[in-house]
Symmetry: C2
Subunit: 352 residues, 2 copies
Amino acid sequence: MTDGLEILPVRGIGEIVAGDDLAEVITAAAPWLADGDVLVVTSKIVSKAEGRLVEVPVDGEERDQARAAVLESETARVVARRGPTTIVQTHHGFVMAAAGIDNSNVDRSHVVLLPTDPDASARRLRDDLLKRGLDVGVIVSDTMGRAWRNGQTDVALGAAGIEPIRDHRGETDPYGNELEITQIAVIDELAAAGELVKGKIDQTPVAVVRGYPRSGIRDTDDASVLLRDAASDMFGLGTAEARADGLRQAAQLPDGPEAALPGNPVDPAAVDRAAAAVADYLSRATTVAPAEAVPGSGATAAFHLSTLDKSPTGFMHLGADAHRFRAALAAESIATLSLPHEDGIRLELSGT
Amino acid sequence: MTDGLEILPVRGIGEIVAGDDLAEVITAAAPWLADGDVLVVTSKIVSKAEGRLVEVPVDGEERDQARAAVLESETARVVARRGPTTIVQTHHGFVMAAAGIDNSNVDRSHVVLLPTDPDASARRLRDDLLKRGLDVGVIVSDTMGRAWRNGQTDVALGAAGIEPIRDHRGETDPYGNELEITQIAVIDELAAAGELVKGKIDQTPVAVVRGYPRSGIRDTDDASVLLRDAASDMFGLGTAEARADGLRQAAQLPDGPEAALPGNPVDPAAVDRAAAAVADYLSRATTVAPAEAVPGSGATAAFHLSTLDKSPTGFMHLGADAHRFRAALAAESIATLSLPHEDGIRLELSGT
């Protein structure tokens, strides 16, 4: 481990415009930059140098419409919405409010987009500095909100010449316990450390971390390894959005043969939980109590629902109650085949 | 802003046991500690000093059962589960895998719980150091996973003598734009910076941040302000859990008068989305196409569903289809009153 780090602000960067050579600008402002340092560069000046600005009307409804159009073009998918806040996954894979589009530190007739490829931006800056004889790590950082915790912190959007993750898996502590899951996202921690000496409004967009060991870096290291894809993310969708998704799944539960039954054994505890969730309805006079579920291999578990009221409305209630029960079973990952017949409805159950 | 920071490891802390005086241990190991420094202390040594260890069997099923029982006692609510991973909200309000319970850097017959009140722990350590004539900020840190991003970073569980959030709201940038939302969780960034010089397995559980301006600190400042309550969190529940919750809501959609209708105007676009979500089913021969929704103030919008097949199974299908449609409308935040009658089902709609 290191003997200690210094986190140094780079003053006097000034205004950056499209086409500016960041390696030139940064080395001019920080002639003291040295081999082994890690540069933490706010993404906004990278975006400005790369011309990632979009012109928007300065006010009125036109401004709102133009900003909404920019947001849509930067959005791969909407993750969550609440009031004026829209959290999206960008085409890069970042989950950020408003796709990271920013209208601070830019004149009112423009908004700033994230760099197209922050890893490529970091690599380019590192290569430009290498040409000047300086071997430094580069992190392109931005401010992000988090789930569960108030306030924002800076994280790494792009990186080059620095190991993104310190992996402790497989190491053994002094007690002989093997560390199981610890993978430290060090480039995010370096970005956060850099933020502590940067300013939001006083134009200090670059910090230098000195003393961090960059041993073992590879040319292929970049910040994209920190991106978790939606499929493997346990929080890939906002809670309200996922609840609505569940209701839509209930709306689309198929009847009949198209309800493909994988035929796995049914967990009796899951059936009990589902029955409890619809107990209010199944205990009504419109339907008799469901038969016992018969767990077994394949789709041998079943319920039979019937109604005491053999009128049209009685059968309609039975149809709705059967669908309720199927939704409750689906919530417990139990698939059902619905088989209505003249006397009632037979539900065949199987695990998914 | 600061002119630069130093992040310094505190070596030679050694093993901490219940009853140890952390102020004594830390000042002995870091006699160079000075006024204005910020101490970043790994929560594990705070827990050990406070005796927050639980004895568990060293192996076998008994060990798993004991650990499960400890997890349950530390859990306020389960946020998400996938395979062996359980993410919970602790009684403190932290959202963490396994409630922050740790079995590394402790002998195999014990697991370490989080401190009971990390803010109080930080305050106590700060007060003990004040008694020794040292005015330092204290952060109690731990390693946490995040939504959307791989890898973990250190954050602040507790804090004293340091402003937890740097609030930029209302400030104006050089272009005259007012900053709207930026509140930087600086104690999390300080915890992350400290992690960079601490070791996971080489027993460097304390770091010092030197040079960070602690102006404007108040006695009431603590890390609990960073906790977002589940109700205001857009990610308060795992995606799969929230989807299952939506399915359960579908199972519990009440019929009849108990379906309280708030009577707000209905968004026709939301009705269209709901109709699209059940189009497959409503287009079947079992039911006729739904009547046009009539938007208006209060619960004047309605659908009428009827079946061409006036047999028991036809009515059962109609009941199920009506429930599908109601689930799809609920997904769009539209409440429905279901009124079955001899000829079909009338659904009265209202916004929620």
